[in-house]
């Protein structure tokens, strides 16, 4: 999955992408209502508090849903299928991502399987992606 589009950070997402470059997954948490939220915003979408912080999360979660995409579009590598997944972090936040280093077959991709984060270079950035936890 080396090829593909790169993100272009905006002021409110820049800390997320800067941390990812250092192999750290940062998610925002509201100090006022103690909830995590994603995507990055300067106020808490649950309680509208400005008292929010970036928190380095565990990077552990579970496979909530996925597709095995047999038709990746350029500039992505289209020599093989691509696993596009929704991962729910232990902290309760859901991300869309890729599952890497896994057999792209339904039998290998059980829903609710534990996963953990990895970081994959993409242009000037690194993308948070996930591996099945037993593959570590």
């Amino acid at each position: 999955m080396a090829d593909g589009f790169a993100p272009k950070p905006t002021p409110e997402t820049a800390p997320f992408w800067a941390a990812a470059k250092e192999n750290r997954l940062l998610i925002q948490r509201c100090r006022s209502c103690a909830r995590y939220y994603f995507y990055p915003r300067p106020w808490c979408p649950h309680c509208f508090s400005e008292d929010v912080e970036w928190h380095q999360v565990s990077g552990r979660g579970r496979l909530a849903s996925y597709i095995i995409n047999y038709r990746p579009l350029p500039p992505a590598d289209h020599t093989g299928p691509q696993i596009i997944a929704l991962v729910e972090l232990d902290e309760g936040v859901r991300l869309l991502t890729n599952i890497i280093d896994a057999d792209p077959a339904p039998d290998s991709l059980r829903l609710d399987a534990p996963v953990s984060v990895a970081f994959h270079p993409r242009g000037d950035f690194k993308l948070p992606v996930f591996r099945l936890a037993h593959a570590q």
Partner: protein, 384 residues
């Protein structure tokens, strides 16, 4: 809310649908508008409101030589036209417009005059958190929650296959449908090429060029028009927002915007589920009618697959659904919602290719920008 006080007096699609490399996107809008005006027996001078999605309302009105006093460019993807109907009804009721033209045209297959829509902006939420992962085509994004829906209900890919087969039975009766060959569930699962597991090609909508348009006015005014005996009345409507990126869908197995918009549409129409004779469920992919049947309350949690497999939505069934063949078999230019509305109007006028014997109330459910937005409409050929 609408009480049947607003009427659809013009409804038409472009003369051809399908593969139209000689026609630009905006031409498709204009041709659809021309056909709808002819259908209504009106001229451009009668139109004082214009709504559209994609191009801006002034691009359409200027192209047609119309100078409206009201316009709506609401763009929430494929269900934009459901919202335009709802907004036009409010504008007509408020006196802000008398006769509103709503247009759709899209060169979804041939991509003629569509360059504005080709760019993927890398600094949007989707550009940062979806596109880099390959979730940039409808089939690689809108489809991702489906396995969760099926898994949590003990349902399987067979349930997706049943949706395709049920709708193909309608399309087989429709000479304008893009896919008309008979198909079995086994063929949908095993012979149709894989696109994005669990989806095969036949579980994904067709990709076509085409357009369609609607003309709305007050029910009072419709009574004086040549189309008075073909007028279709708006009973209720609803609209709701979802999330701009798939990861933020609150519940992967149920779409809150379907529940919210349809609840408001039923409430404003003052009708119950069992008063619906005909249902249109926007089906860009085969999982959507399953979500909609449950979220709209036509069946209980986990019952959608068995309901479709029972034949309830097929010809002769108790709840005929997607009777043009749907996005899966009829046509899908990119923003299919307008075509779902057109089929509801045809059924209520008695002009459909696969005409139901006695449809009085039609419910139309739209979805837009994946699970981004929803719009619901309730129509009847009887003014309450």
């Amino acid at each position: 809310m609408h009480n049947g006080n607003i009427a659809v007096v013009g409804a038409a699609e472009t003369t051809d649908l399908g593969v139209l490399p000689g026609v630009s996107m905006i031409q498709l809008h204009a041709e659809a508008a021309r056909n709808a005006l002819a259908d209504a027996g009106l001229s451009p001078a009668d139109i004082d409101g214009v709504a559209t999605a994609g191009p801006l309302p002034m691009e359409i009105s200027h192209y047609l030589g119309i100078t409206p006093r009201w316009m709506d460019g609401t763009m929430v993807g494929g269900c934009s036209f459901m919202l335009h109907v709802r907004h036009a009804a409010a504008a007509i009721a408020a006196g802000a417009a008398t006769t509103v033209l709503i247009t759709h045209g899209e060169s979804g297959r041939s991509r003629i005059g569509m360059s504005r829509y080709e760019a993927l902006a890398p600094d949007t939420a989707s550009g940062q958190f979806e596109v880099p992962y390959g979730a940039l085509a409808p089939y690689s994004n809108f489809t991702v929650p489906a396995l969760r829906f099926l898994h949590d209900r003990g349902m399987t890919r067979t349930d997706l296959g049943e949706v395709v087969v049920a709708q193909r039975e309608w399309a087989m009766q429709n000479p304008r449908a893009f896919r008309r060959k008979p198909i079995t569930v086994d063929e949908v699962l095993h012979s149709s090429p894989p696109v994005a597991y669990p989806f095969t090609r036949d579980m994904c909508c067709v990709v076509t060029d085409g357009g369609a348009a609607l003309i709305l006015t007050s029910a009072d005014r419709s009574a004086d028009l040549p189309v008075a005996d073909r007028a279709v009345f708006l009973l209720g409507s609803g609209e709701a927002t979802g999330s701009p990126i798939m990861s933020q869908m609150e519940d992967l197995g149920s779409f809150g915007a379907f529940r919210q918009a349809s609840t408001e549409a039923f409430a404003t129409a003052g009708i119950a589920r069992d008063e619906v004779d005909h249902l249109m469920c926007y089906d860009a992919f085969a999982h959507l009618p399953l979500y909609m049947l449950e979220d709209l309350g036509f069946v209980g949690h986990g019952e959608s697959g068995a309901f479709i497999a029972s034949g309830a939505t097929r010809p002769g069934g108790t709840l005929p659904m997607n009777t043009n063949g749907g996005g899966l078999s009829y046509t899908h230019t990119g923003m299919y919602g307008m075509f779902a509305i057109q089929e509801a109007i045809r059924q209520l006028r008695g002009e459909a290719a696969a005409q139901l014997p006695a449809a009085r109330v039609s419910f139309v459910q739209g979805v837009g920008l994946y699970f981004g937005a929803a719009g619901s409409l309730v129509f009847s050929n009887v003014k309450p």
